[in-house]
Amino acid sequence: MSLHTLSVAELAAGLRSKQFSATELARHFIARSEAHNGLLNGYITLTPERALADAAAADARLASGQAGPLTGIPLAQKDIFCTDGIRTTCGSRMLKNFVSPYDATVVERLVAAGTVLLGKTNMDEFAMGSSNETSHFGLVRNPWDTDRVPGGSSGGSAAVVSARLAPVATGTDTGGSIRQPAALTGISGIKPTYGRVSRYGMIAFASSLDQAGIMAPSAEDCALFLEAIAGFDPRDSTSVDVPVPAYSAELGQSVKGLRIGVVREFMEGGLDPANAALIRAALQVYADQGAEIVEVSCPNMGMSVPTYYVVAPAECSSNLSRFDGVRFGHRCENPKDLMDLYKRSRGEGFGAEVKRRIMTGAYVLSAGYYDAYYLKAQQVRQLISREFAAAFTQADVLVGPTSPTPAFKIGDKVDDPITMYLNDIYTIGANLAGLPAMSIPCGLLDGLPLGLQLIGPHFAESRLLSTAHAYQQATDWHRRLPAAYA
């Protein structure tokens, strides 16, 4: 039996029926991870000892009948989530040796659910990037073509799930960092509503946009894990006290009569016709199941990228001020005075993309520029939110592409930040409006996967997941593995 091709539900069933133990399952994924990480570099830190200890505890729970639906399921954590006793680097030299003294809420909840931690996944430095090429710990390779990027910033999580080195991984999404890499590696990924999952212990990039989510082969896998991490957390003032539905139990909802809105602006303006054809084919699958396909318009969607590149850097310039070499993280050798300590610690600890965004952010917040940039961007953000709200009066779910192109070659865009930023042109809108969105595999282009993006109204995760699930009942793109990792 190939344990790595089973779904989360199948793994849970196998554990309960004692077809295999949590320890056997952990060993299988540890072995795969250790065998393939050298090339893919999806993990920054592998934690085999922790995994075996977690698995032993899970086996005890399973034996005592105390197990929950996720007990014994292995997973990988994006290295942006603080893990007590295990280093948390955020992909940065700044935190190369940082060992967190506490668990993030997401980590705490997954520990409580009895999951097994395989390791911490690679990512763009401080989640700033769309190709996983800005990590201090080296680039990540796409399992579908190892000369190509896996997307970013959750590129490590995407690669390890795509290659089935882990059945599931956590991710974070500030401008598309779950959805774009999911699309480029042929897996499913959900970014919930802003406030749905606690940000406590998730190292902040842009606080008003950051949201944790799940990356896994299928929407069903995502649903099982999302219900474990979602929910109000008093330690995060922006987390929302709205009950968490049983997403996995609600997956069976039919799409008959569901109004699926195609966002006109997503399909026009230079979308590769081959990419557009895949989206139209996916729409046909829904039409065949009785969904109503409608066209909607969000005229200012084109403003989302420039808006994002004001708001996100502004917040990051402030969020990253705490990395000053004083209390934790990188400190330069022999500082001659306080200013030298700051300048060299930060100069050495941060990479080029992080510095670019800090400088951009400090600029847009500075006296004399605040109104023209930051305040204007906030106004456009409101405008985009209102356009989405209007679109949701005509449609229940919005769809479009997740990324403009399939995975690109390593090094192709690394010297051209603007082209790199445009990779997130379809995903950023949902972050600006705080909406839940997901990407599911919808076909291959020249042998490389592409994603279909679904966007829902606030707190409509259940609708998104069941819409995605309905598609996956009729197609098998989410079951396709890159040949080398089958």
Binding site: P101, G201, I203, R235, T238, E315, F323, R327, L365
Partner: protein, 489 residues
């Protein structure tokens, strides 16, 4: 009436303009955005948790008690409580500022447009405007001594809740500034939102000071004075600064907008940093905190718990007790003192003026002598009322009563016990007094003759002799009457 400063150099008259920024540390048990204790004096960094240390991934959660305290203050100064206020980040790097930004309120503060009346020396009242009061977190402390080439950081204070109370530039002299500061100090203690301890830094103030020629409408350039930690230093720092600015301008110089540190040891202000070096704080709304929403019912709940405020109490002392505005102001300067005075009046069953005189005079004097607070008084309200009763019923004279009080204070005994033990009971028996006076008259025939010949001044001599003979215990009024009658022959 406006009070101007006359230049000693040129004789020109200058008007002083002062605004105060008061930082009151709110008396919450835990910090404004974390669960750490705010208790003073703990070993360095023992009260700094991961949130206070600004660890990666941690988030602030607003302490509701700090908000309620801000509302209490706002209501007490007749201000508007903002239904929606916003926390912003003030960005700058300093080692005692762990996050690299301070969370404060910038554009939309919780308290807006209040007022505080102050009593001027001429007995009139002046209303000082309170522009705003906003919530913010304090920074930690940097320590530069005793650590060699290093600086030490203590983050116990980091995240302590502060209410920054900003006045309008309405004050025209150092005395007015002190009067306003004292009123705010009294108020925050009445409201039990701040312990008012200036030595420990729980109540501190910055003063914005400028001068302009009398008649000029435009404000002069102001300097901000920092590090003033007593009422006396506020007055001295402002006085120094006024003189410095006038002298500077009159000798052809210009006041620069800058922050100046008051050095109490040298009694001078020194430039800290000028505008050219000033930070651009890059304020923006803190995305980790939702806008603070305060409903009418939240406000109503706080309003229902407000105590009688100092000015209300003082007005009542004037109208019901017949006290002067000055006396009422002194007695209401702290909630504890007012409570003590009221307890004395209650126990004495009236005579508020007598009670007020004794509380403000003798009791205040003894407290001052022993460096005690009214809460540590050695003669409680009932005991003092017991003594006042002995004055009213003429058991002891006012003068002897002071001696009795001293013994009560030092020995902890009741007035009656002291009077009894010391034999200080006033002689009011007319016959006894008359007998003593006759002895005095008989012993001093020459003086009697002189008095009867018109030397009125000799009357005092007989009073003295008679009092001496009674050990000061004769009732003075009776003694006067009898003496006059007998001397008249």
């Amino acid at each position: 009436m406006a009070e101007y400063v006359k230049s000693t150099l040129t004789g020109r008259e200058w008007e002083v303009v002062i605004g105060l920024e008061i930082h009151a540390q709110l008396a919450t048990n835990s910090k404004i955005f974390s669960a750490s204790s705010t208790a003073y004096g703990a070993p360095p960094n023992s009260q700094a948790n991961l949130v206070d240390l600004g660890y990666p991934g941690v988030l602030p959660v607003l302490n509701g008690e700090a908000v309620r305290m801000a509302i209490r203050f706002g209501l007490a100064v007749g201000a508007a409580i903002a239904p929606r206020s916003v926390f912003a980040r003030k960005n700058y790097f300093y080692p005692d500022l762990p996050k690299g930004y301070q969370i404060s309120q910038y554009e939309l503060p919780v308290v807006q447009h209040g007022t505080m009346p102050i009593l001027l020396e001429d007995g009139s009242t002046k209303v000082i405007g309170i522009t705003r009061a906003h919530l913010e977190e304090d920074a930690g402390k940097s320590m530069h001594e005793g650590l060699g080439a290093f600086s030490g950081i203590d983050l116990n204070r980091a995240g302590t809740p502060l209410l920054e109370i900003v006045s309008e530039p309405d004050m025209r002299s150092a005395k007015e500034a002190v009067a306003y500061l004292k009123k705010i100090h009294t108020l925050v203690r009445y409201l039990e939102i701040c312990d008012g301890n200036m030595q420990e830094g729980s109540f501190r103030c910055d003063a914005n000071v400028s001068v302009r020629p009398v008649g000029q409408e435009k404000f002069g350039t102001r300097a901000e004075l920092k590090n003033i930690n007593s009422f006396r230093f506020v007055e001295k720092a402002i006085q120094y600064e006024i003189a410095r600015q006038i002298e500077l301008i009159e000798s052809g110089g210009k006041v620069v907008q800058e922050t100046r540190l008051y050095d109490s040891a040298r009694d001078e202000t020194r430039s800290m940093r000028s505008k050219e070096e000033a930070n651009d704080y890059r304020y923006f709304p803190d995305p980790d905190l939702l806008p603070l929403a305060i409903s009418e019912s939240d406000i109503a709940i706080v309003r229902s718990t407000l105590p009688e405020l100092p000015d209300e109490k003082a007005a009542r002392f004037c109208s019901d007790h017949g006290l002067s505005a000055y006396d009422a102001g002194v007695l209401t300067s702290s909630r504890e003192l007012a409570a003590y005075y009221e307890a004395v009046v209650a126990a004495a069953g009236g005579e508020p003026k007598l009670c007020a005189n004794w509380v403000m005079g003798e009791i205040a004097g003894l407290l001052n002598r022993d460096s005690l607070d009214i809460t540590a008084t050695k003669v409680n309200a009932t005991a003092l009322a017991g003594l006042l009763a002995r004055i009213s019923d003429a058991t002891v004279s006012n003068k002897l009563a002071k001696e009795v009080l001293l013994a009560m204070w030092d020995e902890g005994r009741s007035a009656d016990a002291v009077i009894e033990a010391k034999g200080l009971k006033q002689i009011t028996d007319t016959g006894a007094i008359e007998a003593i006076i006759r002895q005095v008259i008989d012993a001093n025939p020459e003086q009697v003759a002189g008095y009867r010949a018109g030397k009125d001044k000799l009357f005092g001599f007989f009073v003295g002799q008679a009092m001496k003979a009674t050990g000061g215990k004769a009732n003075p009024a009776q003694l006067n009457d009898i003496l006059k009658r007998l001397l008249a022959g």
